[in-house]
Point group: C2
Chain length 150, copies 2
Amino acid sequence: MKRTRMDEASCPIARTLDVVGDWWSLLIVRDAFLGKRRFGEFQKSLGVAKNILSARLKTLVADGILASVPASDGSAFNDYVLTPKGRDLFPVVIALRQWGEKYGFSSGESFPPLVDAACGKPVAPLEVRDAAGKPLEPQDTILLPLPQEA
Amino acid sequence: MKRTRMDEASCPIARTLDVVGDWWSLLIVRDAFLGKRRFGEFQKSLGVAKNILSARLKTLVADGILASVPASDGSAFNDYVLTPKGRDLFPVVIALRQWGEKYGFSSGESFPPLVDAACGKPVAPLEVRDAAGKPLEPQDTILLPLPQEA
DNA sequence: CAAACTGGTTGCATTATAAAACCAATGACG
DNA sequence: CGTCATTGGTTTTATAATGCAACCAGTTTG
């Protein structure tokens, strides 16, 4: 009945999804990468119900992905800013973006491109690589059995 | 009341999450990367309710991420295998995995490592790079306004 | 000091999820 | 060739999450 938790799973993917696998968390993180920091900014950008946003911000803060800090404009409200742990979601967000760019739009549509601020060129497609830097395909990788500590 | 759809969003991230942003889809995709293909294999591995799995497999097939093909063992049932579109989720899955490896486990715990099948070494951490291959931090990137086609 | 704005919380309707029971079609077995 | 177990689901029912709107308190604005 209640949502299945995956915080005990042995799989790192499951543990990540347990934290940010809902419909809104990664969009909030995306907005935070884009510089949004106020409750109202997130709410307007996402169009999410305020109670949902409130709950999500609470869990993101509790999980150490966002930090609640005094507003930068001197007002009495809070800013929600990414922690280092939150900023480490950057590759996740970029991977989702690039897949969406490739498959989420019909040929007539376009989308705002994400570019290198310095040179203005688009970000390169993410590649999974081995320790030596050689690109890896899915079938080039295997999951080893869990090392037993004993 | 019904779930907010994001398939009309201008943001590629939102469109991706609209397709695979639920609790189970990316775990099914993960299992598919690991070679699982039968309904029962997914069900046992994930511990998900069968009706939910059934619904998710249907949408993943409808979205072109999985394909339903006759079972490879000659039985009358279906195999669910990744399409090229599904295989392109590899960086997404790896990004989620690496974040979970870094933040999802306490120091006493361990997890099965994903390694290069050829050399046995762990997969390298994903890096966002610019067109020239230089690593980019979040603050090094900007989102340009949507190009207007007119 | 009144009005409006920001940042929420509360209550209720609806939807999605979960668990279990049920069922049809194979396949295995005597 | 008839019985039984397995696989792959669907149906049913209960509960949790979501979405919306109304409400409210503290702040800022006039």
